[in-house]
């Protein structure tokens, strides 16, 4: 039976729960005056006009001693060393791959930064270079870590651990990088049955928790067996929950996703994306997170 729902648009409502926030953040919009004190140095996101320091992006003002900068909230991913990212291969070049990670420049994955199949440790030869496309092709998804940042801002990635590598079956969601909370680990096995990789660049990867976890293949062997129906339902539900959290601008981390999943259980999977159901689920999640905090 075909289900078609249409509705009239509803104006967006402001933030849902009035919660006591931590230290007050100084939010600015482009053109707002930050300070008229001339003793400060201007950092990123600011400019000086008529002896006033004015913000050029919309975001949070950060002050370090005498340096004032504005960290934008809606921006491309700015990489830091040690971040976990999920990226898509866009090009295969001579000794490296170009990876798209939603940053200003394409990131680079050098041939020397990946693990060879079998875990060998040797110098990469010409045969390895010719076999690059067998390893990673255009369109493949990988999880990697940022090794370093080039002077122009491009990131250099590496997959030199068994937990990184090519990703096989699952679902990718793209969100704003500022919504992903920085945590100790970005690889989570949710108790509901799906696993999730929260890339710092805003790419979230949801995949079925595979049964054999003891032998880490670390990498480039893809599992092409069909995923079971129960796993699919869990993955779809987690995906819709993440979309709900992102629409209401909540931070994404394992606990918030889990609470949202549990709040969504009484509803059907496809109903989660309806605006009124989304609001109700997110409200419940916010309450539970507030209770958790204190």
């Amino acid at each position: 039976m075909a289900a078609v729902t249409m509705r009239l648009p509803v104006p967006r409502k402001p933030a849902v729960v009035n919660a006591p926030r931590g230290p007050e953040k100084h939010l600015v919009a482009p053109g707002d005056t930050i300070t008229t004190d001339t003793g400060y140095m201007r950092g990123h996101g600011t400019y000086v006009e008529d002896d006033k320091l004015i913000a050029s992006v919309a975001g949070v003002v950060e002050r370090v001693n005498k340096l004032i900068c504005v960290r934008a909230l809606n921006t491309r991913y700015n990489g830091e060393v040690g971040d976990v990212v999920v990226g898509r291969i866009t090009e295969v070049q001579q000794k490296r791959w170009k990876v798209e990670t939603y940053s200003r420049l394409d990131s680079v994955l050098l041939l020397s930064s990946i693990n060879l199949p079998g875990g060998e440790l040797r110098r990469r030869s010409i045969e390895d270079e010719l076999a690059m496309r067998d390893c990673l092709q255009e369109g493949d998804l990988i999880s990697a870590e940022v090794q370093s940042v080039f002077t122009d801002g491009a990131l250099s990635l590496h997959t030199r651990s068994l937990k990184y590598g090519k990703l096989s079956q699952g679902v990718l969601i793209q969100v704003s990088p500022s919504l992903v909370k920085r945590q100790k680990t970005h690889f989570h096995d949710l108790p509901c049955g799906a696993s999730v990789i929260l890339g710092n660049n805003g790419y979230i990867w949801i995949y079925p928790t595979s049964e054999q976890r003891d032998e880490e293949t670390g990498g480039f062997i893809t599992n092409l067996e069909p995923v079971s129906m129960s796993d699919r339902e869990v993955i779809s539900r987690v995906r819709n929950c993440i979309v709900a959290l992102v629409t209401h601008k909540l931070m994404l981390f394992d606990t918030s996703i889990l609470y949202c999943y549990e709040a969504s259980l009484p509803h059907q999977i496809k109903d989660i994306l309806k605006p009124e159901v989304m609001e109700q689920i997110v409200l419940e999640t916010q309450h539970r997170l507030l209770d958790l905090e204190g």
């Binding site: 039976m1 075909a2 289900a3 078609v4 729902t5 249409m6 509705r7 009239l8 648009p9 509803v10 104006p11 967006r12 898509r88 866009t90 092709q137 255009e138 369109g139 493949d140 998804l141 990703l167 096989s168 079956q169 699952g170 679902v171 990718l172 893809t222 599992n223 092409l224 069909p226 995923v227 129906m229 699919r232 339902e233 779809s236 539900r237 995906r239 819709n240 979309v243 059907q268 999977i269 496809k270 989660i272 994306l273 309806k274 605006p275």
Partner: protein
């Protein structure tokens, strides 16, 4: 009762401007810019296809297996549509307008009614002119002339869909046979490409035609024989179009062995062939078109047509309900527009 005499010039805007600029003034300037830029032929060929997203093989496999089991990535079944938002009367300087948001896809349609001369082969009918503009906001591939091929493809599809005799009552658009008639310029603007463009555009076109108010005119003949057009004083005295028979397009994408309705960008990347079926509210098929590189089995075409008819009827019912609801709210409706 005094009636204001209005001449032809007051009713229509400058005839020199291109059709698209009737909706947004800036489009004429952007056309000049596009002509000056002139992309290379290779780039034009690459950008011809719809804004496609690149997927890895295991991702495509996951989607295909999901469709086989009637559970798509967002939990929908194969015949379910995403939640759509429809709003009419969003652009104030048009005769009728509508904005439709189908999931991620955002379409804006404006209808302008202008006086023109009827076509020679159909002297007692008005006609519709379509123009589709793929805005560069939708995807960077549409920058410059990139969106032109997609735009012309959509325009020609709509001409085919509306070419059927009964879709719009063209005789009601006639003012004076062989001399004056109403020409409806339907301008479509793609704001965001989120998959399933044709369906969303057809919903928006039907809603905009429903919303169109054409002023009532009378043609008076002078002593010398020259004709003057008179516009009635009352701004609410207008004729409305009968949109009962306006068809809606249903896109059925073949993924694996099954077909899905309302495909997202990722699902479109997994499907090799799609069937565009235009259905009226009574379930009659007015046109079919096959798009895509792949081939379709005749049996699957038949199945897709049946699904298309069923889904099309449900679409019409839902759309009519929402349009009637919006109309009944009248002036008390809270206009959301673009900054809501």
């Amino acid at each position: 009762m005094s009636e204001r005499r209005a001449t032809l010039r007051r009713l229509s805007c400058s005839n020199g401007a291109s059709h698209c600029s009737r909706l947004l003034e800036g489009t004429a300037a952007s056309r000049e810019r596009r002509k000056r830029k002139g992309l290379s032929a290779v780039r034009r060929e690459e950008a011809g296809s719809m804004a496609a997203v690149v997927l890895s093989e295991p991702e495509k496999l996951y989607i295909v297996h999901g469709v086989q089991e009637d559970l798509r990535v967002d939990g929908r079944g194969c015949e379910d549509y995403r939640c759509a938002e429809v709003e009419t009367d969003v652009v104030s300087n048009t005769s009728g307008s509508a904005r439709v948001k189908l999931g991620n896809t955002d379409i804006l349609v404006g209808v302008k009614a202008e006086m023109g001369t009827p076509k020679i082969e159909k002297p007692d009918e008005g006609y519709l002119e379509f123009c589709v503009d793929c805005s560069a906001n939708a995807t960077p591939e549409f920058e410059g002339r990139g969106g032109e091929e997609l735009g012309t493809e959509i325009t020609s599809t709509f001409y085919t869909v509306f070419s059927s005799e009964n879709s719009v009552d063209l005789k009601s658009l006639c003012i004076n046979p062989r001399e004056h008639c109403w020409v409806l310029y339907v301008d479509v603007l793609l704001l965001v490409c989120g998959g399933n463009l044709f369906d969303a555009i057809s919903i928006a076109v039907k809603a905009a035609l429903f919303n169109t108010r054409i002023p009532k005119v009378r043609v008076l003949e002078d002593e010398e024989g020259s004709k003057e057009i008179e516009l009635s004083d009352d701004p609410y005295d207008c004729i409305r179009l009968n949109v009962e028979n306006v068809p809606l397009i249903v896109t059925l994408s073949k993924i694996g062995y099954r077909h899905v309705v309302d495909a997202t960008l990722e699902e479109e990347a997994c499907s090799l062939a799609s069937l565009l079926v235009s259905v009226t509210s009574k379930g009659a098929l007015t046109s079919i078109k096959k798009v895509g590189r792949g081939s379709l089995d005749p049996e699957s075409i038949f199945e897709m047509m049946e699904t298309g008819k069923k889904v099309g009827k449900a679409l019409h019912v839902a759309l009519q309900k929402i349009l009637d609801e919006e109309e009944s709210l009248g002036t008390s409706r809270q206009k959301v527009g673009f900054l809501g």
